[in-house]
Every structure is written in structure tokens, then in C-alpha cells.
């Protein structure tokens, strides 16, 4: 079918903090409509890689391509304008606000100087419905009344409210129970089905194998494996994560 062009492509990306080299020439590619998992042990450089994509900590060296064009993502604002959204582990939701208010926080729609509540309400329901979310009863519920899975859903829905191309999910299932994890993973799949490029960071390999099309493994600042999820298994991945299996790029 011909591999689609990657939305984001990193080539030989490096980042260091003082004397510590955190990223040592990392290659990474994310395709639209696919779930790309990024795994690795603590300190492997996952967060640093993501912060570079989000524009929080730009890389020191290397090539960043977005839609095939070479750019440098220098600020969170630029990342957002490119259509890159990050859903952090702590979700950053305001408990005292309702779902609509949270989804539009910081980008409210205004009509003649006042908040256009019903327009925002409509778009919020449409976005949630478009993601086939059925567990939420009303978009006017306060977030404090929602379950962990529902909160995650709201945070993800907020990320795709606009014309989003890339959604980065940081440990989306870490704090969830079994049923809620399933809901969120289903949502992640639907997101990719809608054509969004999804990057999922996770420690949970069961979850990774449940949704990922491609799995990248970082080990001490190097990308040691880029594997097709269908042709690999958990043991291999664990081997790469812990460093007992040696680097072998390719296998694309």
C-alpha cells in the first residue's frame, strides 16, 4: 500500500544537560493513523524526547522534519500551532470546571465579547461523540465527579478538539483500573483510526501490545529498536529495555 509519509521524523537528535548526554543521536518517525509506542526504562530519555517535540526543551542537534519539511520546534506555542498536543500524566484538568470548560480552557470561543457557551458545548459533545465516547453522561458534569478513565478521556478529547495531527500520551493508563484501561486504549485506537498520529509512552507492555502499530525502544539515550508490533513479542521488548538485547535498528 506504500508507507505513508511520516508526520514527524527525527534524525540524529541530540540533547544534553551540562555534562550529561540524555539523547545521543536518536532517530524516530511517527506516521499518521498509527499508534507509535515509545518504551524504555526510567532515565532512558523518553521525557526529553517528548519535551523536544512539545517545544518545551528544543533539541541541541539533529534534524526535525514535520510533514517532510525541516523545522525546529522552539516553543510550546509553535508545537500547538503545528497541531502537536501533549496529554501529560497528571492531565492538568480543573476539577471545579465542567467538561466543556476544561476542553476549551485557554481557547474559549467568544461571541460579542462574552463566552459562547452553547457553541463550545456543541463542539465538545461532537468531539466526544466523534471519538465514540459513551461513558460520559453529560458534558456539563464537573470534572471532579468523573472517574479516572473519564478524566483521561476528557484530556484526550481536549487534545483533539482542534485540527490535531499528533497526540502524545504520557502514561495514559498508569493510574487506571482494568475496565477503565480498556476504555482508554479503545479510545487511543479510535484516535489513530481518525488519522491522528498517536505517540504513546508507557511502561505497561500489555497495553503497548494492545494498541501499538510500531514500538520504539530507548535505552540510555539511544534508540535501540524500532519494531513492528506484529512481528515482535514482549520478551524481545523487555530485552531491549533492560539492555540484555543489543541494538538493531531497522526491521521496518
Amino acid at each position: 500500500m506504500g508507507a505513508p509519509l511520516p508526520v514527524i521524523e527525527l534524525l540524529g537528535v541530540e540533547k544534553s544537560f551540562g555534562a550529561v548526554d540524555v539523547l545521543k543521536g536518536v532517530d524516530f518517525a511517527v506516521e499518521p493513523g498509527k499508534v507509535t509506542a515509545l518504551v524504555g526504562d526510567n532515565g532512558a530519555g523518553k521525557s526529553t524526547l517528548i519535551k523536544g517535540l512539545a517545544g518545551i526543551q528544543p533539541y541541541d542537534k539533529g534534524i526535525v522534519k514535520f510533514d517532510g519539511k525541516e523545522i525546529s520546534i522552539e516553543s510550546p506555542r509553535l508545537a500547538a500551532s503545528l497541531g502537536i498536543e501533549v496529554v501529560y500524566q497528571d492531565l492538568a484538568l480543573c476539577d471545579n470546571l465542567d467538561i466543556v470548560q476544561n476542553m476549551f480552557l485557554g481557547r474559549e470561543e467568544v461571541y460579542r465579547g462574552t463566552l459562547n457557551e452553547s457553541a463550545m458545548e456543541k463542539k465538545a459533545s461532537q468531539t466526544l461523540a466523534g471519538l465514540s465516547v459513551k461513558t460520559v453522561k453529560s458534558v456539563r458534569q464537573k470534572v471532579e465527579r468523573l472517574s479516572g478513565g473519564q478524566r483521561q478521556t476528557v484530556a484526550i478529547a481536549r487534545a483533539v478538539l482542534r485540527d490535531t495531527k499528533v497526540v502524545i500520551l504520557d502514561e495514559p493508563t498508569a493510574a487506571l483500573g482494568v475496565a477503565q484501561t480498556e476504555q482508554v486504549l479503545a479510545l487511543v485506537k479510535r484516535l489513530a483510526d481518525k488519522g491522528v498520529a498517536v505517540i504513546m509512552i508507557s511502561h505497561n507492555l500489555v497495553d503497548v501490545f494492545a494498541v501499538a502499530d510500531k514500538i520504539y525502544v530507548l535505552y540510555l539515550g539511544k534508540m535501540v529498536a524500532a519494531l513492528d508490533a506484529k512481528t515482535t513479542n514482549q520478551n524481545d521488548i523487555v530485552g531491549y529495555i533492560t539492555g540484555t538485547k543489543s541494538a538493531q535498528m531497522g526491521n521496518k
Binding site: R77, S118, R140
Partner: protein, 411 residues
């Protein structure tokens, strides 16, 4: 993308019965709003009506509004900072300093509007200063405003002079609390208010249906208009009764301060409920980190909130100066505590993120009615303070418990 059949509701659907049961569910889960204070207010009013023959006279009724006005305005300002989970201990002294600036303006033979402007601007400057220190330097507002509480007492003392007292001669300033609308003006005020309420109710529905969003059953709007209509009718009619025992000096009509406070309430509620800024205030009170990440200029919102609080405190100072008829060096010192009490009794959360101006109004009336009723029954100030303190503790407990309960709900 999606088909038009939304599976997710908005809370606006459902018939009257479903809507009412939805409301009770909300109350049961701990989201009581101003309901307890409302019930408290009604119970107190009934209690005092039975126990004191004077309580239910039109003279005392008008008096209650005069008594509560300054407190309510101060409490409204404090609601803004309380939503941020901050505090302004200096609001009372700010009221005092602003009132002192008012008399300085008046004594300099300035026009009364100019004198009011000077007082209000003093409030703006003080609030901006507090906001800058809290937001930019990062000192907790408790400490900053405690320092201001002390320092501005000194400022007030320096302006007025120790033991000094300035009488207010300006009839316009005195009129705020001591003059009334004429009977006809009172009814015009009633009609205009009702028209605005009706218009805004229907406009809100029209906006929703224009965007294809459902509305609550229209009966609710009719009931709301009817209840407000009857209450307003009783209120204006009662205030229009003759309340002077001396036929030569008739006193009747709605005190001027009533439309003043109502206008402030409507305006500030509009800011909180209908503007981006208001939304950011609540967001910042709920989760500062989320607000920051959403791109909200957190410091600017904080500075604006402290400025609004001190500005309303200044207006409260003008209103109490008008009532007392003079300004002395200790004015306003204790009022801030009553203001905080009023907000909390009304249902504003001390934990931030929650609070409405209507709650400050209801809470202000609760505090004022306790003061008024107990005073009429001849209790001394000691009993009064004891009971007010007890009510505050009760309200704060309700807040804390409802928070706990809210956290256990379906997780």
C-alpha cells in the same frame, strides 16, 4: 464525522421532573451552593419576626438593607480572592483608607464625583500593589495582606490624625445611604430590573437554540421570573411604606444604596460568568498548573483579582462612610472579618475554585440579620459575636464536609 444523534447529554435535557431530580442528586452529592445559607436566612427571619415586634416593621426592613450594603460589597470583592484560594486581610483597612481619601477630596472642595473617583482609585492602586507583590514576588497573600493591614492602618492614622474624625458634609455622599428613591422611582426601578431579567432569560434560551443546543423546560424560566417578580414586588412595596413616626418628616422609598449594590452585583456576576477573565479566575482557583499550561497569564489574572477586591473594598468604604456620616482612623478595621464570614456563610469555599457573588449577598444578609435581630432583642454585642462566630464555624464545616463527600463519589 459524527452523526447528529449525540449520545452525550448537556444536563439541559429532560422534562421538569427529571430536571428537579437531577438538582436533588446534585445537592445530595454535596454541591449545595447557597442553599444552606438561604434556608438559614429564612429561618432567622421567621425567628426574629416572632421574637421581636420591631423586626418586621418597614423601618427595620429598610434599616437592614442599609446595614448590610457595605458588608455585601466588601464580601463580593473577597469572593474574587477566595475563588483563587487567596485571602485579603487588608480589605477593611483599604475601605478605611479609601474613605479617608474621600473626605480629603471633599474637604479640598472637590466635586463629590471627583472625591468618589479619588477614593475608588485609591482602592485600585492598593489592590494593584498587593497583586504585584503576591503574583510577582510570590509571598503568600496572607502575609502580604497582613502587612498591608498593619501598614494601611498607619496610613489611615497619618491621613486622619490620631483621634481625629472627619464629618461628611456632602449631601450627595450622605444620600447614598440616607436618601431614598421616590415611590414612582422605586416602581420604575422594579420594572426595569424585571424587564432586564426577563430579557436576559429569553436571550440565553435563544442563544442556545440558535446553536442547536437543548434548553431546559421553559416553565423554569417562568417560575424564576414569577418568583423574582413577587419578591421584588413585596420588597419595593414594603420599602415604599411610610416608615417615619413623625408626619412632618416622611421617610419612604427604596434606599438609593439598593440599586447601587444591585448594579455592582449584576456587573461583577457578568464578569465572572460570561467573560474569559471570569473563566480564568475559576480555572486558576481550581488548578493553577492546569491554568498555566492552558496558556493563561496566571500573574495577570491574580493582579486583576486583587485589584477588583480592593476596588470593591473602596466602594464599600464609601458606602459605610455615607452611613456613619463620618470617617475616623479606625474605620473598616474589623469589617474585613465580617466580609470573609459573609462570603463563607453564603457558601463560598475557602479551598478555592468555588464561589458566587450571590452567595456573598446572601451571606451578607445572614450576618446583618443576626446583628440586627439580636440587637433589637436587646442582646449585647458579646452574644452577637458568639452567635456569628458559631454560624461561621457551621458554614465552614459544611464546606469542608461537602468537599470530603464530593471526593468519595464514584471514582
Amino acid at each position: 464525522m459524527s452523526t447528529t444523534n449525540n449520545t452525550i447529554g448537556t444536563g439541559y435535557e429532560g422534562n421538569i421532573r427529571e430536571q428537579i431530580s437531577g438538582y436533588f442528586l446534585k445537592v445530595k452529592s454535596g454541591d449545595m451552593g447557597s442553599l444552606p445559607a438561604m434556608i438559614g436566612l429564612i429561618v432567622l427571619a421567621i425567628l426574629f419576626s416572632i421574637m421581636s415586634p420591631v423586626f418586621l416593621t418597614s423601618l427595620n426592613f429598610a434599616n437592614l438593607f442599609n446595614q448590610a450594603a457595605a458588608l455585601i460589597v466588601m464580601a463580593m470583592g473577597l469572593v474574587f480572592v477566595l475563588i483563587l484560594a487567596e485571602i485579603d486581610l487588608s480589605a477593611g483597612v483599604t475601605a478605611g483608607v479609601s474613605a479617608a481619601m474621600l473626605v480629603i477630596g471633599l474637604n479640598a472642595e472637590l466635586h463629590w464625583t471627583l472625591a468618589i473617583a479619588i477614593a475608588v482609585v485609591s482602592g485600585v492602586v492598593i489592590g494593584y500593589f498587593i497583586g504585584i507583590i503576591v503574583a510577582k514576588v510570590g509571598i503568600p497573600s496572607f502575609v502580604v495582606t497582613l502587612a498591608c493591614f498593619l501598614a494601611f492602618q498607619g496610613l489611615q492614622l497619618l491621613i486622619i490624625g490620631s483621634g481625629g474624625l472627619y464629618r461628611i458634609e456632602s449631601s450627595e455622599i450622605l444620600a447614598i445611604q440616607n436618601s431614598n428613591l421616590s415611590i414612582v422611582q422605586g416602581w420604575i426601578f422594579y420594572l426595569v430590573s424585571m424587564l432586564l431579567l426577563t430579557y436576559s432569560g429569553f436571550a440565553a434560551r435563544r442563544r442556545r437554540s440558535r446553536n442547536g443546543q437543548p434548553n431546559r423546560p421553559i416553565t423554569f424560566l417562568y417560575v424564576k421570573i414569577a418568583v423574582a417578580g413577587v419578591l421584588g414586588l413585596v420588597l419595593v412595596a414594603a420599602l415604599n411604606l411610610e416608615r417615619s413616626s413623625n408626619k412632618a418628616f416622611p421617610i419612604h422609598g427604596v434606599p438609593i444604596v439598593v440599586p447601587v449594590v444591585l448594579a455592582l452585583w449584576v456587573f461583577c456576576t457578568f464578569i465572572l460568568d460570561r467573560t474569559k477573565f471570569g473563566r480564568y479566575v475559576y480555572a486558576l482557583g481550581g488548578n493553577p498548573e492546569a491554568a498555566r499550561r492552558a496558556g493563561i497569564q496566571v500573574n495577570n489574572v491574580k493582579i486583576a483579582v486583587f485589584t477588583i477586591c480592593s476596588t470593591l473594598a473602596a466602594i464599600s468604604g464609601i458606602i459605610s462612610a455615607s452611613r456613619i456620616g463620618s470617617v475616623d482612623a479606625s474605620m473598616g478595621r474589623t469589617m474585613v472579618l465580617s466580609g470573609i464570614a459573609a462570603a463563607v456563610v453564603g457558601g463560598v469555599s475557602l479551598f478555592g475554585g468555588k464561589g458566587r457573588l450571590s452567595q456573598a449577598v446572601i451571606g451578607g444578609f445572614v450576618i446583618a440579620i443576626i446583628d440586627n435581630g439580636l440587637g433589637l432583642m436587646g442582646f449585647n454585642a458579646g452574644i452577637n459575636l458568639l452567635i456569628t462566630g458559631g454560624v461561621l464555624l457551621l458554614a465552614a464545616s459544611a464546606d469542608a464536609i461537602s468537599r470530603k463527600r464530593g471526593n468519595v463519589v464514584v471514582r
